[in-house]
């Protein structure tokens, strides 16, 4: 009997030394067990082999049965535990989603919720987010539509313009019948028509030195797709002062650029990169230079994707990098950006 236990120990030790998996070692032991049973059956009880291996078939059967019960029970426990752990994780995601969302919303955002990087918690972050979009023009169109469709809970939009016939070649959020109405109202209507579960706050005005801080103060993230340098520098200044991330996009003719300026997390600000606006007349506006229709669609959609990453923390946003998209040659290029210690806005705090 001791001989058998010694052989079991031997098999286990050799298996371990050879790096055999546990299952292979248990198989060897099972083979040994069957051999021992065979010996008890095949030889008379006085036989040397039978005596050496314990001398009783009944006893070996009982040992085998006991072992089988113990093994079966522990595997079952282990499986139950794994299942319970997975369930707890799923439930955390699901309950986060269910507390906040109706059945219809859960269904609407299902393609987000299945994404590992977003999930129910990411969708909840989107719903809790308060985002300000400056400009409801070319870039604003896809930004606003995609933020609304994605379920960003509160979306404010500021613009003082009215929809013009010549906007409609690229500003896809506005309809022909909206010509003459304020862009923020036309945009708000399109957004709530697309997704009635989001709140849209329209500001039909131009941001000014006087009210920019107060308006931006109500939001956690700003996207700038405005059409003039004064507003770009103003929005940058206020965002730096309030430590809010700024997703900035701009374009001309066939080329667009975007970056996430977030000095609070170590990146440069807009003015670190572009210290001064070009002299008036040097950098043309869309009306002067022209712009290819889908270009704001591409760049604005990239801005919306950056917003989802900034809000949920998924992946890596374009912090400290500028993406340049050249539609004419179908090229995207990325350059690294650094804070500038003589920047009058952020003082290059992060240099």
């Amino acid at each position: 009997m001791l001989l058998v236990f010694a052989m079991v120990a031997g098999l286990w030790g050799i298996g371990m030394a050879m790096g055999a998996p546990k299952s292979a070692r248990w198989t060897m032991i099972a083979v040994l067990y069957v051999a021992v049973l065979g010996v008890q059956l095949a030889f008379p009880p006085e036989h040397q082999l039978v005596v050496a291996t314990g001398g009783s078939l009944a006893m070996w059967l009982m040992i085998g049965a006991a072992l089988a019960v113990v093994l079966g029970y522990s595997t079952m426990l282990q499986k139950l535990r794994l299942k319970a752990d997975a369930k707890v994780q799923d439930e955390a995601q699901e309950s986060a989603a269910q507390e906040l969302f109706s059945e219809t919303e859960l269904n609407r955002y299902a393609r987000h919720i299945v994404l590992r990087e977003l999930g129910g918690l990411g969708q909840k972050k989107l719903k809790d987010a308060k985002v300000l979009v400056v400009g409801a023009g070319g870039l604003g169109s896809p930004v606003l539509l995609y933020l609304a469709a994605s379920g960003v809970g509160t979306i404010a939009v500021v613009d003082d313009d009215v929809v013009d016939n010549s906007n409609l070649q690229r500003q896809v959020i506005h309809k022909d019948e909206a010509i003459g109405t304020p862009k923020v109202l036309s945009a708000a209507e399109a957004m709530t028509a697309q997704n009635p579960f989001v709140t849209v706050v329209p500001y039909p005005r131009r941001l000014t030195e006087e009210d920019a801080a107060e308006i931006i103060g109500d939001y956690d993230l700003v996207l700038d797709g405005t059409d003039n340098f004064e507003t770009r520098y103003l929005v940058n200044e206020v965002c730096v002062a309030q430590g809010k991330p700024l997703i900035s996009g701009a374009l001309s003719q066939w080329e667009g650029q975007l970056s996430v300026f977030d000095p609070a997390s170590g990146t440069p600000c807009y003015q670190c990169i572009f210290p001064e606006a070009p002299a008036p007349g040097i950098a043309p506006s869309c009306s002067e230079a022209g712009v290819v229709g889908p270009l704001p669609g591409v760049v604005g959609t990239m801005m919306a994707a950056e917003a989802i990453k900034v809000i949920t923390g998924a992946g890596a946003a374009l912090r400290g990098e500028m993406m340049i998209y050249d539609a004419l040659w179908g090229e995207t290029r990325k350059i690294g950006l650094k804070p500038r210690s003589d920047c009058p806005t952020c003082g290059g705090k992060n240099t």
Partner: protein
């Protein structure tokens, strides 16, 4: 020397970044990067160029 300027191969005479901007007719108010690294305006004159460098000159754009 041969460099790549805004994604396009160019033969230039300039040997530093400031000289390159002048040679290619860029005004001062642009952002520049050399081999994907940002070079602030103040360091352009000291930034020498070598064959095969990738230079990006980014003008601020106001279009939205």
């Amino acid at each position: 020397m041969k460099i790549v300027l805004n994604g396009e191969a160019r033969e230039v005479a300039a040997t530093d970044l400031a000289g390159l901007l002048a040679e290619c007719g860029f005004s001062g108010r642009v952002a520049t990067s050399l081999n994907e690294d940002f070079v602030p305006a103040g360091l352009r004159a000291a930034q020498t160029l070598t064959d095969g460098d990738r230079v990006e000159v980014v003008a601020p754009m106001q279009g939205g």
